[in-house]
C-alpha cells in the first residue's frame, strides 16, 4: 500500500512538472486592467513562452483571470463560468479591485474581496499591474503548479458551504447553478485524494 502511494506520488510529481508548462487562461475582462493583457501576450512580453495561452471557453481553460472590479451582477456570471471550468482550475485576481475593492472600496455595486466567493489561487496587486508584474505572478503560479502546491480549487469542493453562504448572502437568495458541487466532489474523488 505504502509503495503504491509513493509510486502514485512520484507519478503525480512528474505530471505536475509537465503540466506546469501548459496553462490556458480565460480572461474575464470587465475591469480596466484588461488593457495590460495585449502587451503581455504579444511580442514585447510574450506570455506564450511560458505555455500560457488565451482560451475562449471555460471548458478549455485552466486559469480564470479576473481583471479588476466585479459588479454583483457580473459575479454571478463569473461563478457560472468558474463552475463550468474543469479542475484543476486556478482563479487569479488581477488588480487591487479584486483584493479589497481598490478605488471602488465604497461602491455599493461591486464586490470587495473575490476570495469570499471563489477560491483565489493568486492575487496580482496593482492598479493596474504592469506586464512585468503579471509575468512575475504567472512564473510564481507556474512554480506552484510544478510543485503540486496550487490546490486552491480543492478548497471550493471542501468548503463549498462557506462560498455558497457568501454568494447567497451577497445575492440575497438562493443562486442559480447547474452544478451540484458536493456530488461532483464525491464523483470525481476529490475529497479523498486530499489525504
Amino acid at each position: 500500500m505504502a509503495k503504491e502511494l509513493t509510486q502514485k506520488a512520484a507519478w503525480d510529481r512528474v505530471l505536475a512538472k509537465l503540466k506546469k508548462n501548459s496553462l490556458w487562461m480565460l480572461h474575464y475582462c470587465t475591469g480596466c486592467g484588461a488593457i495590460e493583457l495585449p502587451p503581455t501576450m504579444t511580442a514585447r512580453y510574450d506570455m506564450e513562452r511560458f505555455g500560457i495561452m488565451p482560451m475562449v471557453t471555460p471548458r478549455q481553460a485552466d486559469i480564470l483571470l479576473i481583471t479588476g472590479y466585479l459588479s454583483v451582477k457580473t459575479l454571478k456570471r463569473v461563478i457560472l463560468v468558474y463552475e463550468q471550468m474543469q479542475a484543476p482550475k486556478y482563479v487569479v485576481g488581477f488588480g487591487s479591485c479584486t483584493i479589497n475593492g481598490g478605488m471602488y472600496w465604497d461602491s455599493y455595486s461591486t464586490i470587495k474581496s473575490l476570495d469570499q466567493y471563489l477560491p483565489v489561487e493568486m492575487y496580482l496587486a496593482g492598479c493596474m499591474p504592469r506586464p512585468e508584474a503579471i509575468i512575475k505572478g504567472f512564473s510564481w503560479l507556474i512554480d506552484r503548479v510544478g510543485k503540486g502546491e496550487a490546490n486552491s480549487w480543492r478548497d471550493y469542493y471542501e468548503n463549498y458551504e462557506f462560498y455558497r453562504k457568501n454568494q447567497e448572502e451577497l445575492f440575497g437568495g438562493p443562486i442559480q447553478s447547474y452544478q451540484d458541487i458536493p456530488a461532483d466532489a464525491q464523483k470525481f474523488g476529490i475529497l479523498e485524494a486530499r489525504q
Binding site: 456570471r77 457560472l80 447547474y178 464523483k187 470525481f188
Partner: protein, 627 residues
C-alpha cells in the same frame, strides 16, 4: 412453379385483403379490420419472401404463360430479375413488419396493405416479364399501382400522386411507341428474336429503339431532367410507403435499363451503339447519371423536411447506379448493381428511423426537431448507420459499391464523371449531417421532453436493417456473388470478388481488414480515453453561452439555414431551378389550353380505373388483331 407463385401470391394477397376489407365493416370495427389486414399482409409477404428465395433454383427454367386475348403473356426468371425479385420480396417484408406498428390505426390508410400487395404484384410482374409485350403491360399495371399507393392519405399526397401520373403516362406512351417500333421492325416481342434481328441492324434503328425504351426507364428511375415527380410524391406518402418506394420501386427503372441495355437487345447491338466515335450512347447515359447525382444531392442540402431531403437523395443515388451500369465496365456494372442493393438497405433504414421520429413527434420538419438522441437512441443509431451507408463511408455497405464505381470511372478514363460522383458524395455528407443534426442533435425542445422510444415492433426492423447495412459492408462478397452471376448470365466478365471485398486482380479492397483495424483503433482510443480522468454527463442547459444562464425559455440552437455559406454560393441557381421552371411553364400551358387534361385530374378513382382498363384493352385488341 415457384416462379408462378411469385405472381400468384401478391395477387392472392391483394384479393384476399380486398375481400377482407369488404367483409369486415370498416366503420364500426375499424380496428378489427386493421388486424385482419395485418395478418393477411404478414403471412402473404412472409410467404412471398420464402418463395422468392426458393425460386433461385428456377433461374432460367421457371416459366409461366398466361393467355390473354389470343396473345400469351410470358413470364420467366433470369439471374438479373431474381436479384431484383429477392430485393422486392425482402424489403416489402421488412416494410410490412415495420408498418404493423408504425402505421397508426387511425383509418387514414384503409387500403394500405391492399395497395402494397398490388404494387408488389406490379413490380414482380415487370421483373418476371419474359417478352416486350408482357413487360409493357406489367409496366402499366405497376405504374397504376404506384399511383394508387401514392394517392392515399391527405390532399397533398393526392395531388402529388396525380403529378406522378403525368410522368407515368408519358413514360408508358413512350414505352408503347418503343414496343410498336420494335414490333414493326422485328415482327416479334420475343427478346431472343429481337436480339437476332437487331444484330443485323444499323446503328440508327438501334439508337431509336434504345431511346424509346430507355427514356421511360429513366423517367421511372427519376434521372435528372425528368425527376421532378419523385420528391413531392414520395415525401407526401406515408413514411413506410416512402421507404418502400424509395428503396425499390424507383429501382425498377434501373432494372429495365440494365435489362434493355445488356439483355433485351443484345450485346452486339449495344456494342454497335457504344462504338460510335462521336456520341457514344453510354457516355450520354453517364452524363445524365452525373447530373442525376449532383443536382438532386445539392437540392437535398437545402430541404427543410426530413422525408423530402431523403427523397432527393434517393434520386441522387440513382445517378450512381446509372453511371456505374452505363460505364459498361466490369467494375462499374458490378458497382451499379450492388449499389441498388445497398441503396435499398440504407434508404429504408433511414426512412424507418424518420418514421419512428414522426410516429412520436408528429412532424418531420427539420427546423422544429432537435436533441432527440436522448429520447430515441435506437432511431438515432438507425439513422446513423443509414447515413454512413448513404454517404458511402466505410465500414458500411454503401462504400463498397461506390468504390467499385469510382475505380471503374477512373480507370476507364472518365475523370469528370468520377469527380461528379465525388462531389455528390460530399453533398450527401453535408445534407445527411444536417438531417441527423437537426433531428437528433442540438437542443431538445421543451415540448419533446416526455416522448419515448418507439415500440419493439418498429425497433426490431430498424435494428435488423442496421445489421444488414453493416454486415454486407463487412462481407460484400455475399451480394457480389449474385452480381457476378448476373454479369456472367449477361455475357459479361465476372467481377472478381472475395467474401470481404474485391479480389486483388480487380483492385484491392478488404472491408474485413478495414473493420478490424477500425475496431482496433477504437479500442486504443478507448484506452487513451480511460487513461484520462472520470467523466460526468451534464444536461443541455449547462452549456457555454458566454456566461449566460440558459434554460428552457431560451432557444439555444443552430439548425435553421444550416449551410448558409453554401446557400449563398448557390443562391442564383436555387431560386430558379431551370427544370422546375420549364415544367411549371409546361403545366400552365397544358392546363390552360386543354380542358381534357384538366379533367383527368378529377381525383375520382373510377375515372382513372376506367382509363387503365380502356387503355389496356385497346392495346391488346390492336396488337392481338395485328397478329
Amino acid at each position: 412453379m415457384l416462379t408462378s407463385m411469385l405472381l400468384i401470391l401478391p395477387l392472392a394477397g391483394f384479393l384476399t385483403s380486398l375481400a377482407a376489407a369488404w367483409i369486415v365493416p370498416a366503420s364500426s370495427k375499424a380496428r378489427a379490420s386493421g388486424a385482419v389486414q395485418k395478418i393477411i399482409a404478414g403471412i402473404g409477404f412472409a410467404a412471398l419472401f420464402v418463395f422468392a428465395f426458393l425460386a433461385k433454383s428456377e433461374i432460367g427454367t421457371g416459366y409461366l404463360g398466361i393467355p390473354l386475348f389470343g396473345l400469351w403473356l410470358n413470364f420467366g426468371l433470369t439471374q438479373l430479375s431474381w436479384y431484383f425479385v429477392a430485393m422486392v420480396a425482402g424489403i416489402s417484408l421488412v416494410t410490412v413488419l415495420f408498418s404493423l406498428q408504425g402505421l397508426r390505426d387511425d383509418g387514414r390508410y384503409p387500403f394500405y396493405y391492399i395497395w402494397l400487395f398490388s404494387k408488389t404484384f406490379g413490380m414482380l410482374g415487370v421483373l418476371l416479364s419474359a417478352d416486350m409485350l408482357t413487360f409493357f403491360i406489367m409496366w402499366e399495371v405497376m405504374s397504376w399501382c404506384t399511383y394508387f399507393l401514392l394517392q392515399q392519405g391527405h390532399e397533398k399526397a393526392k395531388r402529388a400522386g396525380a403529378g406522378y401520373l403525368v410522368y407515368a403516362v408519358t413514360a408508358g406512351m413512350i414505352l408503347l411507341a418503343g414496343l410498336l417500333y420494335v414490333y414493326f421492325n422485328v415482327g416479334s416481342f420475343d427478346f431472343r428474336t429481337i436480339q437476332k434481328a437487331f444484330s443485323g441492324f444499323g446503328a440508327g434503328r438501334i439508337i431509336v429503339a434504345m431511346l424509346l425504351v430507355l427514356v421511360p426507364m429513366l423517367i421511372e428511375a427519376a434521372a435528372y431532367p425528368v425527376h421532378w415527380w419523385l420528391p413531392s410524391a414520395y415525401a407526401n406518402a406515408e413514411t413506410g410507403i416512402s421507404a418502400y418506394l424509395a428503396a425499390i420501386s424507383t429501382r425498377i427503372g434501373i432494372y429495365g435499363m440494365t435489362m434493355f441495355l445488356f439483355a433485351g437487345f443484345g450485346l452486339t447491338a449495344l456494342n454497335l451503339v457504344t462504338a460510335n466515335k462521336y456520341v457514344s450512347a453510354n457516355e450520354v447515359l453517364m452524363i445524365i447519371g452525373a447530373f442525376t447525382m449532383v443536382v438532386p444531392t445539392f437540392t437535398a442540402l437545402f430541404q427543410h423536411d426530413a422525408k423530402e431531403l431523403m427523397t432527393w437523395h434517393s434520386i441522387g443515388q440513382g445517378g450512381y447506379m446509372i453511371v456505374g451500369i452505363a460505364s459498361s465496365t466490369t467494375l462499374g456494372i458490378a458497382g451499379g448493381l450492388f449499389h441498388v442493393f445497398n441503396h435499398m438497405t440504407y434508404v429504408s433504414l433511414i426512412l424507418f428511423s424518420i418514421a419512428a421520429v414522426e410516429y412520436r413527434t408528429g412532424t418531420t420538419n427539420l427546423n422544429k426537431l432537435g436533441g432527440l438522441i436522448k429520447k430515441q437512441p435506437v432511431a438515432y443509431l438507425g439513422l446513423l448507420f443509414g447515413i454512413i451507408g448513404l454517404a458511402g463511408i466505410p465500414p458500411m455497405n454503401g462504400f463498397v459499391s461506390k468504390w467499385l464505381i469510382y475505380r471503374a470511372l477512373i480507370l476507364s478514363g472518365h475523370p469528370f464523371i468520377a469527380l461528379a460522383a465525388f462531389i455528390a458524395t460530399l453533398g450527401t455528407i453535408l445534407s445527411v449531417y444536417k438531417l441527423i443534426h437537426n433531428m437528433f442533435l442540438g437542443q431538445l425542445p421543451e415540448r419533446y421532453n416526455d416522448i419515448k422510444e418507439v415500440g419493439w415492433g418498429m425497433r426490431l426492423p430498424i435494428i435488423f436493417m442496421m445489421a444488414v447495412v453493416w454486415l454486407t459492408g463487412a462481407f460484400p462478397g455475399t451480394v457480389l456473388a449474385v452480381v457476378a452471376d448476373i454479369q456472367q448470365s449477361l455475357g459479361l466478365e465476372r467481377v472478381a470478388y472475395s467474401v470481404h471485398g474485391v479480389a486483388a486482380e480487380m483492385g484491392q479492397l478488404n472491408m474485413l481488414v478495414i473493420n478490424i483495424v477500425f475496431i482496433g483503433g477504437l479500442f486504443v482510443s478507448w484506452l487513451i480515453y480511460l487513461a484520462g480522468g472520470k467523466r460526468k454527463h451534464i444536461g443541455q442547459y449547462d452549456n457555454y453561452a458566454a456566461g449566460h444562464f440558459l434554460d428552457k425559455s431560451i432557444p439555444y440552437n443552430y439548425n435553421y439555414n444550416f449551410y448558409a455559406g453554401m446557400e449563398h454560393i448557390f443562391e442564383r441557381l436555387l431560386h430558379k431551378p431551370p427544370v422546375k421552371r420549364a415544367e411549371q411553364a409546361l403545366a400552365t400551358f397544358v392546363s390552360g389550353t386543354s380542358e381534357y387534361v384538366c379533367r383527368i385530374f378529377t381525383g375520382n378513382i373510377t375515372t382513372y380505373s376506367a382509363y387503365v382498363v380502356a387503355a389496356v384493352v385497346v392495346i391488346l385488341l390492336v396488337l392481338g388483331g395485328g397478329r
